[in-house]
């Protein structure tokens, strides 16, 4: 199983993890900042997964928080409502946590599959509004389900999400996405984005691949939701409104569509940015809005549109030397 090119990437990732843990233990980075780091990881997973649908497959899905909500609630139900794991011994808690994440991902991917179906008939803005609608319907339905707390919310979720798990799942999401894109599955999705009719005439079942991209992406979003719930220890349906979905849209487009690297960078920066602007108190959100507008005007394709970092590229260097470059 060939992983990222170059051992340096692993050294970097593991090293980063160790450094962060040390900084935390010694109090240089306090627990609040650590939480920001964990949020950043979760946001990376969300943004990268949204990129699969909107960036690589060229669809227009704007209700991504809905999948996160489904995953968050499903996984929280496993650990709190169904199995009440908070009193279990630690060595039992972790497998249950991982199981709950898997369940979150599966349920979310099922919803993603269901949403994939209307995409067959709808294009562009109509698809967008349907995905937005699904997101809001998910939220409305959760509000009605009393056993998970309804509109009051679900609390006392055990905090199983720690830095280690965030690193693990963020890494897995990036790795899986990169491999997806560089396979015939990913290529089929890209062909749908580029020219759906041509893709069809080449034997690609565009229906199947649109649904696949939704299902794959929503699985990852569901896992991210599970991590989210077990970090905040509390869930409430209004946390997953259209506003949350727009967060991920902003992360995605600012970073550059079809660039996994761009998604990583922008999720990191934009998760941290409001914290850095905190000194501006009431003015920070207004400034955030202005910065967004300026960014889009200056760089309409986002920061990294279409390009990838070295460690994410899969290139045949020998062959490339013999060819023209641009």
């Amino acid at each position: 199983m060939k992983l990222f090119k170059g051992k340096m990437t692993y050294v970097f990732i593991i090293g980063l993890y160790i450094i962060l843990e040390i900084l935390n233990k010694t109090g240089i980075i306090n627990s609040y900042m650590m939480q920001i780091v964990k949020f950043a990881g979760i946001n990376i997973i969300m943004t990268v997964s949204l990129n699969i649908i909107n960036g690589f497959t060229g669809q227009f899905s704007i209700g991504h928080a809905g999948f996160m909500a489904v995953g968050a609630y499903s996984s929280a139900v496993i650990t709190t409502v169904l199995f009440k794991t908070i009193n279990w011994p630690v060595y039992m808690q972790i497998p249950m946590f991982l199981l709950s994440l898997l369940v979150g991902g599966l349920v979310a991917s099922f919803i993603g599959f269901l949403i994939g179906i209307p995409t067959l008939k709808l294009k562009g803005d109509y698809l967008a509004i349907v995905t937005l609608g699904f997101g809001e319907i998910v939220r409305a339905i959760i509000r009605l389900i009393q056993p998970v707390g309804g509109a009051r919310g679900l609390s006392a979720i055990p905090q199983y999400t720690n830095l280690f798990w965030v690193f693990v799942f963020t890494f897995l999401a990036i790795y899986a996405s990169r491999n997806f894109v560089n396979s015939s599955f990913g290529r089929a999705c890209i062909s749908i984005r580029e020219n759906e009719i041509a893709a069809e005439t080449m034997g690609i079942d565009t229906t199947k691949y649109k649904i696949l991209s939704f299902t794959f992406a929503s699985f990852m979003a569901g896992v991210a939701g599970g991590l989210y719930g077990h970090l905040l220890m509390y869930l409430q349906p209004d946390m997953f409104s259209f506003v949350k979905s727009t967060d991920y849209l902003v992360f995605l487009y600012a970073g550059g569509m079809s660039s996994i690297s761009g998604s990583i960078v922008s999720a990191l920066i934009l998760t941290a940015l409001p914290e850095f602007l905190r000194f501006m108190s009431e003015w920070r959100m207004a400034l955030y809005g202005v910065l967004l507008v300026i960014l889009m005007i200056k760089r309409p394709n986002g920061l990294y549109g279409g390009k990838e970092f070295k460690f994410l590229q899969i290139k045949n260097n020998k062959r490339m030397l013999e060819t023209e470059q641009h």
Partner: protein, 293 residues
């Protein structure tokens, strides 16, 4: 029976507000294919302009409406020139993010101003409340004014777009921007006028909304905007009569569903939308354009 009729009145009242906002969405979409996420915030700003107009100048209902419509109309033009015009030839998705940025700004800038702040404010009563009994239902003066005013504005808009020269220009630009320019139409001005009208209608909707539900705050435009956008798509995005139809349907459905269960009312609009799109992918009155092979 009377309850249904009563609910219908509330529904039409709410629906007419949705329709006013939906019109702005649909006009802007029709002319530059942009979903202006900031549109709901024009409603909010309109309500606040009205609030301050009454607080400082003690104006009456009609002057407040007119003032608000003109001021917010100009805000709309400014927003278009500053944030959307530079991106006209770029991918539509960039405009979308810009619209989100504009919305964030329009919501949070007033929030930061000490004069406004995050707390909800009570909107003053500008229309004397008189209840009338009619066929066993109660209809208030406020409701009558709202419904009449909304439909008058919609009628004026309809006349404007179908009978006047400026309306023809707007249609031309929405069909083909470049061809319209070649015909000597000032595309920039036409787009600005469209934004002015759309924003002005949203402002009117804001005043009317605040007249009925008198608590206003900087985030009120968000939810209303989303519902109005849904209404616009339901009727067929880009189609003006569609926005009116969609708005009324949304309003009535929401009121009826809420009477059964308040949470049901929240999601019902989206459910209706999805059902309609399954059968008519371009909305009730929309025309689906087939891609040429």
């Amino acid at each position: 029976m009377t309850t249904i009729l009563q609910l219908l009145i509330y529904g039409v009242q709410l629906g007419s507000i949705y329709a006013l906002i939906a019109l702005g969405y649909t006009m802007v979409y029709g002319i530059i294919r942009l979903i202006n996420f900031a549109h709901g915030d024009f409603l909010m700003l309109g309500a606040f302009v009205g609030f301050f107009a009454v607080s400082y100048f003690n104006l009456g209902f009609i002057p407040v409406m007119l003032l608000s419509m003109v001021v917010i109309g100009m805000v709309g033009v400014a927003v278009e020139r500053i944030a959307y015009k530079p991106l006209r030839s770029k991918p539509r998705l960039s405009s979308l993010i810009t619209a989100i940025g504009v919305s964030i700004f329009l919501q949070n800038f007033p929030r930061a101003l000490p004069a406004i702040g995050p707390a909800p404010r009570p909107f003053p009563r500008l229309i004397p409340l008189v209840n009338y009994e009619f066929l066993g239902v109660t209809i208030s003066s406020i409701q009558i004014v709202m419904i009449l005013l909304s439909f008058t504005l919609m009628l004026l808009l309809h006349l404007l777009t179908t009978k006047t020269a400026i309306g023809r220009r707007m249609k031309a630009v929405s069909f083909d921007k470049d061809a319209a320019a070649l015909m000597g139409i000032n595309v920039n001005n036409t787009i600005s006028i469209t934004f002015f009208i759309g924003a002005a209608l949203a402002a009117a909707g804001g005043i009317l909304y605040a007249t009925t539900y008198p608590m206003i705050d900087v985030y009120m435009g968000s939810v209303l905007g989303t519902k109005a956008f849904t209404a616009a798509v339901l009727g067929g995005i880009g189609i003006i009569p569609g926005a009116m139809l969609g708005g009324v349907i949304m309003g009535v459905a929401e009121v009826l569903a809420t009477s059964i269960n308040s949470d049901l009312g929240y999601g019902i609009g989206f459910v209706i939308l999805i059902l309609i799109l399954l059968f008519k992918p371009a909305g009730l009155l929309g025309k689906y354009t087939i891609e040429k092979v």
